[in-house]
Subunit: 189 residues, 2 copies
DNA sequence: GTCTATAATACGATAGAC
DNA sequence: GTCTATCGTATTATAGAC
């Protein structure tokens, strides 16, 4: 099945989908950019939609692993919060295609009923963690949804603004400002 | 030019674009849903893209007016912040199509170089206001971008989650939780 | 201003040779 | 596994009657 070819198709498509959108990218575009013919692409993926699904799956898995190891780095919640904010911004700077695909591509338009990556496993992972911390009294009492959104909303909005061209600086340079807002928003004081 | 017909095309298209996406909506779809023929639609709009532009323009104007009057309601910043959060959530509940179009439709995919509505005039309006408040010492010193994102990120993320089906309750019911996080994040204490 | 009919094109997907 | 060639279809947009 030529694993490398399949992988090249995936990474080529990720770039094209995020840069020009799923619907503005034809299978011909992907094939040409990957140095293949349309026939070859269709040999690896029965449908265009399946290429998008493959990207979604690998992105989701990557983010779950990344979040798990980020949380494991510290024992104090305060430090974990800083580290999560930092990681999200760093990934947006370093793996732009991957993060933009996860957050910006409208999966619902591609396959009806499809949930965005950020609301699936990676989001649930964080929600569970903060529910425990809330029970322990380490953050204020509030709706569990609100706690996770308090943590992720600012990093995500900054990413979206960066991708939309409203920010030119590296996102990582906003780490402290964002962390301060986030932590003050949830700390139990 | 039959103003009502033009208006019916716009509101019909807004619903279709937000529900099934710009690229999954054909001009035939719009015409049929509006009770017209494709020829009639093309009489009012030379290109499909222009329909999207017309929606964008009216949405932007609406939001600017809405934000201006919301800020004018109170003199205390604290109250203004609550009111803005409340207004954003209320609009998302009451004018879903309009808000979802403003925030969820990927304008960049429709016309290259197009900025999202939320980053244009409405966003700039809030940024100017908070820059003044920061100079007056009413909120903590931080990057002006960060201050506005601190205010808008949580309401916007909640909207996106609602539209993606992750939330079923009315958004307005989260007003207090969101306001607490936002205000604690920016207050000068 | 609205209709029907159709032109022109691009796309997803397939067939069959190599 | 990869290629070229092509089918069938859907889409944007136009032409011309009413």
């Amino acid at each position: 099945m030529s694993f490398e070819t399949r992988q090249r198709i995936i990474s080529t498509a990720t770039g094209l989908f995020t840069r020009q959108g799923y619907f503005n990218t034809s299978v011909r575009d992907i094939a040409k950019a990957a140095g293949l013919s349309t026939g070859a692409v269709y040999h690896h993926f029965p449908r265009k939609k399946e290429i998008a699904s493959a990207i979604t799956d690998s992105t989701r898995d990557f983010l779950v692993t990344e979040f798990e190891s980020t949380i494991a780095k510290h024992s104090e919640l305060k430090d974990q919060v800083f580290e999560i904010v930092h990681t999200m911004l760093r990934l947006a700077d370093e793996k732009r295609d991957l993060m933009e695909y996860a957050l910006h591509v409208k999966h619902r338009e591609i396959s009806p009923g499809g949930k965005p990556i950020c609301l699936a496993e990676p989001f649930e992972l964080l929600k569970k963690h903060f529910r425990r911390q809330m029970a322990l009294g380490n953050i204020r009492k509030m709706d569990p949804h609100a706690a996770v959104v308090c943590l992720t909303a600012m990093p995500i909005r900054f990413m979206q603004m960066k991708w939309d061209g409203a920010i030119s600086k590296k996102l990582i340079s906003y780490t402290n400002d964002i962390y301060e807002c986030v932590w003050r928003g949830m700390e139990n004081s």
